[in-house]
Amino acid sequence: MSAPTTTPTTVTPSTRPVRQLGDRIFAGSATGAGVLILIVLAGVAVFLIAQAIPAFTASPEELPGGRNLAVYIGPLVFGTLLSALIALVIATPLAVCVALFITHYAPRRLAQGLGYVVDLLAAVPSIVYGLWGVAVLAPASLPFMTWLQDYLGWIPLFAGPVSATGRTMLVVGVTLAVMILPIITAVSREVFLQTPKLHEEAALALGATRWEMIRMAVLPFGRSGIISGAMLGLGRALGETMAVAIILSGSGIITFNLISSSNPSSIAANIALQFPDSTGVAVNTLIASGLVLFVITLLVNSIARWIINRRREFSGAN
């Protein structure tokens, strides 16, 4: 960059250098913020890896449980993924329905009220949901889980025997679903509201019913928004500590049986429960499990990005 500072310019508008300066400051700070985020992320990764290495190199006897690292972390990863997956499978369709009801079916007054309620629910601390899960949902769902075992017991998911306390993987999944429902709903509602009137009217003018219009115009337009919302929810469910820690007493097994009394815990809950009493290599082991959670979260987000980008050409963003 060589600025012609020596050239005597008399007609240069006085606003130009100022705007350039503003542009430069903005560009600089935006780049700075982006770089900072990357540095922080890299810092976290470096910390996790450095602290996890002793666990990788330690002999099996030194680790908690006395077996190798995969045997220790495996069930936790499984529990984490299973509980988050149950939550996602329950919450996403429900959230999309609620968001559609708010944006396209409810009368305006009701829609506004519902919108506020959903936003409020999104702000409730997760410990509250956890307490609700233990105190209300677990006992209340006992008859339902017994019913599942009696009638759908041939599906491995519901093989039973039903836990007497009701504190099961299924209850955790449902609790997490309730917890992430508001955030997915809120994000979906925002994108549904932004569906161009133009395309809604195109569908209606072709003779689409309201539901057909939603399928032709609203859902395709909101698809990437729904995925983003679901990923936000999934991230919350994967990392959820307290709700899982309160409800489940993990026993380090891998099972798809959702309603029995022996369940795997999740990574985050296990860290929260074990950390205070851990020393030495046990701490490194917990951090290693944290590293795995970090990688899982990154993977989930990359997959979501990939899904969103796959049909970019058809996204209507051009």
Binding site: E201, A202, A205, L206, R311, F314, G316
Partner: protein, 259 residues
């Protein structure tokens, strides 16, 4: 195919606001009728009342009688969705579905009708509709590409293809060329001339030369002032409207001595 539209003493409201008052109009089959008039006089409002798109807006309603070949469109038990399947519409801004390919856009209406046609019949329908809209040669090699990748004029013709693919009785067009360049405008005007052998066409236009070029009949809407309802001042053969209109207001408007 191709039916007559007949409005009798039609009042059109947005909530309590009377936007268009007392429209009496007879639109003959297989003709092109142009609706002209200053902005805000209710041309779009009237046009959208014909296929019951008006009531999509909350609080919007219609009083009076509107018939399609004698059948009351606002009668009790008449489903607006059914009306819209018979009366196609092309909007001011081209609006192909961005998430659908060109091919899917053309058959979007047919899919709604749940007519399960075979692959061959569907291919034929797509080709026939796109040819009908003078677009086939330009897109035949990229039917699986998104419709939003076309130029504005091509997108508008795609929307026309989409509308005629379901073989409507009437085709409504609300300023279909106002977002297009002159060449694309000419293409659409030519197309309108061809389409009138099969369809009843009602077109709203800002452009009086366009009305004179494409239409057989012209209706002139006017408004006395803001907040007052719009009226259909006069409706006659296009050449009469542009040469010897009966009303002074019409003459002032078409000769450019308006306001």
């Amino acid at each position: 195919m191709s039916k007559a539209v007949h409005a009798k003493n039609l009042n059109i409201y947005y909530g309590s606001f009377l936007a268009v008052e007392g429209v009496d109009i007879e639109i003959k089959p297989k003709t092109v009728t142009a609706l002209i008039g200053p902005s805000g006089c209710g041309k779009s409002t009237f046009l959208r009342s014909i296929n019951r798109m008006h009531e999509v807006i909350p609080g919007a309603r219609v009083e009076g009688s509107l018939t399609l070949d004698g059948k009351e469109l606002y009668g009790p038990g008449v489903d607006p969705v059914g009306v819209r399947r018979q009366i196609g519409m092309v909007f001011q801004r081209p609006n192909p579905f961005p998430t659908m390919s060109i091919y899917e856009n053309v058959i979007a209406g047919q899919k709604l009708n749940n007519k399960r046609a075979g692959k061959k019949a569907t291919d034929e329908l797509v080709e026939r509709s796109l040819r009908g809209a003078n677009l086939w040669n330009e897109v035949k090699d990229r039917l699986d590409k998104p419709g939003s990748g076309l130029s504005g004029g091509q997108q508008q013709r795609l929307c026309i293809a989409r509308a005629i693919a379901v073989q409507p009785d009437v085709l409504l067009m609300d300023e279909p060329c106002s977002a297009l360049d002159p060449i694309s405008t000419l293409a659409i005007e030519d197309l309108i001339n061809e389409l009138k052998t099969d369809y009843t066409i009602v077109i709203v236009t800002h452009n009086m030369q366009q009305a004179a070029r494409v239409s057989d009949f012209t209706g002139f809407f006017n408004i006395e002032g803001t907040g007052k309802p719009g009226h259909l001042v006069e409706m006659d053969e296009t050449k009469t409207i542009f040469s010897q209109p009966k009303q002074k207001a019409t003459e002032d408007y078409v000769s450019g001595r308006f306001g």
